[in-house]
């Protein structure tokens, strides 16, 4: 059930990217898609009533091992979030420069390039 909600979020992002006219909305669509994939990854690593994968002195080792959540998707998501931030920064710089040149955020008005 939760995975379906992730796919729906991914589809909303995809819908935004492919139909919106406003550049900032397109960038937001990409942000939503990236977020949906990160959510799916962390969910695939979750263990029913699990514990954080951080071993501290309070908890005994065997009990922690039995309940600890999968650390590897969290590492993947950490990397993916920062990659998403990098891509967003670059896209926003392009959007700002395009706004400077065309005076609008409307992608259909920027038809300098023939199809």
């Amino acid at each position: 059930m939760l995975y379906t909600l992730c796919f729906i979020l991914f589809a909303v992002g995809l819908f935004a990217v492919s139909t919106q006219k406003n550049i900032i909305k397109i960038i937001m669509g990409i942000e939503i898609m990236d977020l949906a994939v990160n959510l799916f990854l962390v969910m695939s690593g979750y263990r029913a009533d699990g514990r954080t994968p951080i071993l501290t002195r309070e908890v005994s080792r065997p009990e922690w091992l039995a309940a600890a959540v999968d650390p590897f998707p969290q590492a993947m998501v950490l990397t993916s979030i920062v990659i998403g931030l990098g891509v967003l920064a670059l896209l926003l710089v392009l959007a700002l420069r395009l706004y400077g040149r065309y005076g609008t955020y409307d992608i259909t008005k920027m038809r300098k390039l023939r199809g």
């Binding site: 951080i54 501290t56 002195r57 950490l78 700002l96 400077g100 040149r101």
Partner: protein, 154 residues
């Protein structure tokens, strides 16, 4: 920005900075790590830029030193990786931990992990700071576009 905002940000920056350094230093023991600490410190500096404007924030961390620091951070991280290769144990080898395994759950016993944490935090902080100053200083006149961005003149 009004005077109140500027003084308040100066105080808050101190708390943010300590929290960021804590995240980096204890990255391998408690939640946090290079990324979290770096991003936290970056948000501290961004707060300064927003409250005091790009020109005045130059004093705390200028654009040019930030870019140099960024490349230095990246080179530091690459050096740690290649150092493993040079010491003959292979690329990205955790050579300190392998040779002198410290007593567990202490702060300075995770071999190259704290060093990598510091290099990553330095890099993330300066990168995000540079992006912010660059984007904050782009001015648009109504009609065309004149960039006040202080990049070096070609």
């Amino acid at each position: 920005m009004s005077e109140i905002v500027r003084t308040v940000t100066r105080w808050i920056f101190a708390f943010i900075a300590t929290y960021g350094v804590y995240l980096v230093a204890y990255g391998h023991l408690t939640p946090g790590g290079g990324f979290a600490g770096g991003v936290m410190l970056a948000s501290g500096y961004v707060l300064l830029v927003l409250s005091r404007g790009a020109k005045e924030a130059e004093k705390s961390l200028g654009l040019r030193p930030a870019k140099a620091l960024d490349s230095v951070g990246a080179l530091l991280f690459l050096a740690i990786a290649v150092l493993g290769l040079v010491l003959g144990q292979g690329f990205f080898e955790n050579f300190i931990q392998k040779s002198t395994p410290g007593e567990p759950l202490e702060i300075l016993n995770a071999g190259i992990i704290p060093l990598c944490n510091i290099a990553i935090a330095l890099k993330v902080m300066t990168s995000l700071f540079v992006v912010f100053v660059v984007m904050a200083s782009v001015r648009f006149a109504g009609s065309g576009e004149e960039l006040e961005y202080t990049s070096e003149e070609e």
